[in-house]
């Protein structure tokens, strides 16, 4: 049976249409505006392994983000474990992930601009970077905010989705790496050496 759309649905789609019509030209300008970051001078990571799909700039930003997630202290962090190289490998196989990273970097730069009047996330102080990244801790986003994220970045809730994905992957990569094991005092995979000292306490 055909169902007539409700008044609420009609209003929602009318609003979306108007938003799209009004935002469309502005969107093109904004995308062009933010595109300049992709061609900014690369920040060399100094790794012997090449980054293949991310631009040098994207790789530098993502490298920094992983460093905020697991920082270096008296023990190595995500940067020393070169988590960015694994992210790059994943992005080689997953276009959607590549897009999420790319738009996430754009979102970070946009935040740097709108909140701190800086062109690039990389130009911010550590406190400012952390303040922006912490926005990705919350899944709450208004309806219009989600629409905006989808239209502009291609991903709804860009802050949350980008940061949570990078955080989860950073954990997964770092704690599967000997440097990550060193931080917590883990000896490595269960097999095949096992734990023959299992019954001995320190």
């Amino acid at each position: 049976m055909h169902k007539h759309p409700s008044r609420r649905t009609l209003l929602k789609w009318t609003g979306l249409g108007l938003l799209g019509a009004g935002v469309g030209p502005g969107l093109a300008w904004l995308i062009n505006r933010s595109g300049h970051h992709l061609s900014s001078a690369p920040e060399p990571l100094g790794f012997s392994d090449p980054v293949l799909v991310f631009t040098a700039y994207e790789a530098a930003v993502l490298h920094e983000v992983t460093g905020f997630i697991i920082p270096t202290d008296h023990d190595p962090g995500a940067k020393e474990a070169k988590v960015i190289l694994e992210l790059d490998r994943l992005a080689q196989k997953d276009d959607r992930f590549l897009s999420l990273c790319r738009q996430g970097v754009r979102w970070l730069d946009d935040q740097a601009s709108s909140r701190y009047d800086q062109l690039r996330f990389l130009d911010l102080s550590p406190e400012q970077c952390e303040s922006i990244l912490s926005l990705g801790d919350s899944s709450e986003r208004s309806f219009l905010g989600k629409v905006w994220d989808k239209l502009y970045y291609g991903h709804s809730r860009i802050a949350f989705n980008f940061f949570q994905r990078i955080r989860r992957l950073t954990f997964s990569i770092f704690y599967s790496h000997p440097l990550g094991w060193k931080v917590v005092g883990y000896e490595g995979p269960p097999q095949f050496s096992g734990n023959l000292d299992y019954h001995l306490c320190d």
């Binding site: 202290d73 599967s176 995979p189 269960p190 096992g194 000292d197 299992y198 019954h199 306490c201």
Partner: protein, 556 residues
């Protein structure tokens, strides 16, 4: 081309089916085993890889995540037991108003749930068989401990069970085939709490080798039992009795074979099994006798689906009890942090148990038994800590990981879920699998008895941990609001009266004489919180002896 008739078609290759195939093959029968899942390759379990904890690796391991079922309406929570709600430092994760739908941890694959079980090999205590007549609750089994004892002993030898025969809470017995494993450092630490309260934390009896057996090495204490044992030290069916059965030359295991029906001949006897192969092509395997051992969820599903003029309510279901009296796992977990490094990820999964409360006690507020245990469970590598305990990011996250890793242990309890006919498996005609077979629907609720039991588990666990000097409790999970099921039983219960049971004391259908059910379906009670595998295996061994004896007499 029609398949050649065999003596026995066994449905399922886990604890019940694997043992039946082995025992009947060594008795000279020709056998086809139909296994719904694949044959896993232990070399692919990835426990030796740096990324062994990553999600991608879960695809090739028997991780027990088959959720192909539906569930009945969720039970509203009883607010009087609000304190039993699951919590962790990461927040609440269950509904505040209703019990969560069940999650059932099981494996479809050659070896069945033994692929991911933790190797516990418990004999039920004698009181577990006579709870009605001696303790006044639930129902009696048609057999006694003494009937099963020789089969327990045979199974322990076949599996190479390790344990300490001096356990004061179990009947006197001969030494186990293998010496007990040492208690892990973590368990020794928790044991201090048991000791201070006058409770006995005893080395667990485990079907995990403490000495070499044939070409199988002893355990090297990687603690990865639940992901499948790479070395073969755990006596799962795929590395023990199934290869031995196949070596007789009389057993053929067909993997990815989903049984659909057990057709009957004109005399009302099973004439074989209809099954689908992986590509959905239907086959018929003729057999003189059928052993159904698909587990307490799938066995009643198959019977209820196999309707005919003779059995309009499901095969072998004249009693109307197929699917009824479903018993789940009544569990409570306390996630406990200790100050000192206790290397909690090292050892076997459950190396110790406390049987002090295994027997029902009229002084307590509930009927039924409870067994406590210590385990790392899923907290093995550092990545598991980030998933379950330590979120956040930055230096705070890193420091918390240092504080927690290797210092967190689960003190848990398993209680006896009493049988109730309204807790049951039915068919969900609205939901079907890829073969068009209706999915099993689990309808289960807890009574006040179970809630009181959970309350007891919680208070005891907190007391034990307090006495052990726990630094911090990081969370608690109980069956009150979260329904994690790994042990299931009761859905084709055994008994002497065909009106009130599905199979007899030899697991033989009252209604179809050449149909036997050798899995936890035929349990009457849950043995006071003990793990079911060894009892399933002992029952299957006993049923196989009976089949061989009756066949020799021409009675089947």
């Amino acid at each position: 081309m029609a398949a050649e008739e065999v003596d026995v078609c066994v449905i399922g290759s886990g604890a019940g089916g694997g043992v039946a195939a082995y025992a009947l093959a060594t008795a000279g029968f020709s056998i086809v085993v139909l296994e719904a899942g694949p044959r896993f390759d232990p070399a692919l379990y990835a426990l030796d890889e740096t990324e062994w904890e990553s999600a991608a690796k879960l695809l090739k391991i028997p991780a027990g995540n088959s959720q192909n079922f539906t569930s009945g309406p969720p039970q509203p929570l009883d607010p009087r037991y609000e304190h039993l709600r699951a919590w962790s430092q990461l927040g609440r994760f269950a509904s505040p108003t209703h019990r969560s739908p069940p999650q059932i941890f099981r494996v479809k694959g050659v070896g069945g749930c033994t692929l991911h079980y933790q190797g516990e090999a418990h004999r039920f205590s004698p009181h577990g068989f006579v709870s009605r007549s001696e303790l006044g609750y639930a129902d009696d089994w048609p057999i006694r401990y003494e009937d099963l004892e020789p089969y327990y002993e045979r199974m322990e030898r076949l599996l190479g069970v390790a344990g300490d025969h001096r356990n004061p809470h179990k009947p006197p017995r001969l030494p186990f085939p293998n010496p007990p494993h040492f208690l892990s450092c973590a368990t020794q630490r928790v044991k201090q709490g048991f000791d201070r309260l006058g409770l006995t934390l005893w080395p667990n009896s485990l079907a995990i080798l403490s000495r070499p057996k044939g070409d199988r090495p002893p355990c090297n204490y990687c603690n990865g039992c639940e992901r499948g044992c790479m070395t073969g030290a755990k006596s799962s069916m795929d590395v023990t009795l199934i290869p031995q059965a196949e070596a007789t030359g009389r057993v053929r295991v067909i993997s990815n074979a989903m049984a659909r029906d057990i057709p009957l001949d004109k005399m009302g006897k099973a004439k074989g099994v209809t099954y689908f192969d992986r590509s959905g092509v239907e086959h018929f395997q003729p057999a003189k006798l059928v052993v159904l051992a698909a587990g307490a969820l799938e066995s009643p599903r198959l019977l209820l689906h196999a309707t005919s003029n003779r059995f309009s309510d499901g095969l072998a279901n004249r009693s109307g009890l197929v699917g009824r009296n479903f018993m789940e796992t009544l569990v409570y977990f306390n996630i406990a942090l200790f100050e000192d490094p206790i290397h909690s990820y090292k050892g076997t999964q459950i190396d110790a148990r406390c049987w002090d409360f295994n027997q029902s006690d009229p002084q307590r507020a509930f009927r039924g038994g409870v067994v406590f245990g210590v385990s790392a469970l899923n907290l093995l590598g550092p990545l598991s800590y980030t998933k379950h305990l330590v979120r956040g990011w930055g230096l705070q996250h890193k420091q918390r990981m240092r504080e927690l890793f290797g210092r967190v242990i689960h003190l848990f309890a398993v209680g006896e879920h009493l049988p109730h006919p309204d807790n049951r498996i039915t068919l969900d005609e609205e939901a079907r699998d890829s073969f068009g077979i209706p999915l099993p629907k689990v309808t289960v609720a807890l009574s006040q008895n179970e809630l009181d039991m959970l309350d007891f588990m919680r208070s005891q666990a907190r007391a034990i941990l307090g006495a052990a000097g726990v630094k911090e409790i990081l969370g608690e999970i109980s069956a009150y609001d979260t329904d994690y099921i790994s042990h299931m039983s009761g859905t084709c219960r055994m008994g002497t009266d065909p009106q009130s049971s599905v199979v007899n004391e030899f697991c033989q259908s009252h209604d179809v004489p050449n149909l036997f059910i050798t899995d936890a379906s035929c349990f009457v009670t849950e043995g006071g919180g003990d793990s079911p595998s060894l009892t399933i295996q002992a029952l299957a061994l006993r049923a196989s002896d009976y089949i061989a004896a009756q066949a020799k007499k021409g009675n089947l």
